[in-house]
Amino acid sequence: MTEVKLIHAHDLVKAYPVADREFVALKNISLEIGKGEFTGLVGPSGSGKTTLLNVIGSLDIPSSGSVTVLDSKIEALTHKQAAQLRNLHIGFIFQTYNLLPVYTVAENVEFPLLLLGKSTDERKDMVAEALEWVGLTEKAEMRPAQLSGGESQRVAIARAMVKKPALVLADEPTANLDAKNSHHILQTMEKLNAELDTTFLFATHDEKVMQYMKRIISLEDGEVVKDEIK
């Protein structure tokens, strides 16, 4: 089977200046992730999971080495090109949901489509579809403050998925949720992964999350220590 590789990292190093020294958060990471994968980055706190997701998501740039995401070299992108890449192809899901508080559920989900310049009709259809995926059609007109944690995270998933991006990056998506909601969220994402062939990359140390993963990449002190496919 010839897999299309969505993400290539080669000798990726990310270092932060701390006081007068450097703290190396990612040490010579090399890995490849193919289209449609459902992969988890696991490891103890401080092992570099978020840092790696941020670089792959073009929110940050590597200190050295190379990262290619969907044929774009992250280290070579301008701020504007990076924004464009995220806008078109990448969806983010955060531990703290990060919904826009003054917008309704539907408006939150609609937001990426506004940035993409979709027409009103298109937006309406796509938002309706995305809310259906996560089972929140009923709550379209509510504000984030009126939602439970699980519902909020489902809105965040709908927002990340509404434009049918090639890649979804989820940083500890279940950390603020109870077991029941965690499973619900993961099942939703699993379903979308299967239906839309969207690539998912998680950062987590939640056992519940790991059991859903098809591949688990273990990080420790900024290095890949294990990479297993189930």
Partner: protein, 391 residues
């Protein structure tokens, strides 16, 4: 146009603080328009009154006359040049003479300006025809209502009047007030005693002399060349414009302070909102918004205060200003003491230029004020913003 929609949504969702800012700004808006309208009205009406009652479309002055040099006054009269005759005959030009004198109401001396105008004239809107009456052997004179009040005389009262004639000899006669003139123009009222020009020429032995010639306001024909200097209405009302300008710059301190308060509120809100919404900004960038768009969005949110304020000010301000325009502002009597030509009731003038100009000025200042704190987002890193940090 997406950001316009987003800015509107954000503002709408931001609650009471937004409305407070908008309200304060709208008050500043109104205050500026109201005050400026008032000053515009004051200036225009004052000039119109001057034109109507004593300045016409302009004046010719005899060589010596200089309103800013009181010492020139005793000699400020001359034989009326013959070149003016055609215009005088056509009724579009009339002579006026100023002459120093004194009166003794209640046996106290008061220096006055004796003013002579032709009782048949129609150039100046003044009841000069009322001076042409028999006054039981007294000199018939006319006073303005302010003058009459200040020396405490009424129609029919008699007082002694004294002057030096053209040869320098003192002369005195009793004068009778035959008419009290009601006028908006205090400069032809306060300190003046009016009489028929022929009478003034006679008692001063200054035959066919005058201080100035007033040209009718409707006259647009050619102005004759003379050795008397011509002063247009525009030149003659420079005082009024200067005075209004001075007063209005005093007023601008007031609305400057108001504006500063309103802008401070906007600035404060912007600083706070940028600090509070770091994570939101990180999220927006993660969703694919560029920093440029982010800056535009937050600046626009700020300038929208200006737009909403303009709308709000129109909503509650338009009826207020309209009412004010209908009723006018009644001036207190002692405003006369400024020696300015002022109507009893002041009607403000709100021009389109004034309103549009104010809106544009406010919009620009609000936008700049909104932009200043937003500027630093240009260096914001998405990762820092997401972690709630400000780089």
């Amino acid at each position: 146009m997406v950001i316009l929609k987003l800015a509107y949504r954000n503002l709408k969702g931001a609650g009471i603080r937004t409305w407070l800012n908008i309200f304060v700004l709208s008050i500043a808006f109104l205050a500026i328009v109201y005050l400026k309208g008032m000053y515009n009205g004051m200036q225009d009406q004052s000039i119109r009154i001057s034109e109507d009652t004593d300045k016409g479309s302009g004046q010719y002055w005899c060589e010596i006359y200089d309103p800013y040099d009181p010492l020139s006054l005793p000699d400020a009269h001359d034989v009326i040049p013959a070149v003016f005759d055609p215009l005088r005959e056509a009724g579009v030009m009339t002579p006026v003479m100023f002459y120093q004198g004194a009166i003794y109401p209640d046996n106290r001396m008061k220096n006055v300006m004796l003013r002579g105008a032709d009782h048949t004239q129609t150039v100046m809107n003044m009841p000069t025809s009322k001076m042409n009456v028999e006054a039981d052997g007294y000199l018939p004179v006319m006073l303005g209502q302010r003058m009459a009040k200040s020396i405490n005389v009424e129609k029919g009262d008699v007082f002694t009047m004294q002057w030096r004639d053209g040869n320098g000899a003192y002369d005195a006669r009793d004068a009778k007030v035959v008419h009290i003139m009601v006028t908006d123009n205090s400069t032809i009222d306060v300190g003046s005693v009016w009489m028929d020009l022929a009478l003034l020429q006679d008692i001063t032995r200054l035959e066919n002399q005058a201080t100035m010639m007033v040209v009718d306001k409707s006259y647009t024909g050619e102005l004759p060349e003379a050795n008397w200097s011509y002063h247009s209405l525009f030149d003659l009302t420079a005082d009024i414009r200067n005075m209004v300008e001075m007063k209005s710059s005093g007023g601008s301190i007031f609305y400057g302070v108001l504006m500063a308060l309103a802008l401070l509120a906007v600035f404060d809100t912007q600083v706070l909102s940028i600090w509070r919404r770091r994570k939101e900004m990180g999220t927006l960038m993660a969703l694919g918004m560029t920093r440029m768009t982010l800056i535009k969005l937050f600046t626009l949110e700020g300038s929208m205060y200006g737009i909403f304020a303009a709308i709000l000010a129109t909503l509650y301000g338009a009826p207020l200003l309209y009412l004010n325009n209908m009723k006018g502002l009644t001036m207190p009597m002692d405003i006369d003491n400024f020696g300015m030509v002022l109507p009893q009731t002041l009607y403000p003038e709100y021009s389109v230029a004034l309103v549009v100009g104010t809106i544009v000025t406010v919009m620009i200042t609000v936008t700049i004020t909104s932009f200043i704190p937003v500027r630093k987002l240009a260096r914001l890193k998405p990762t820092d913003a997401l972690r709630g940090k400000m780089s």
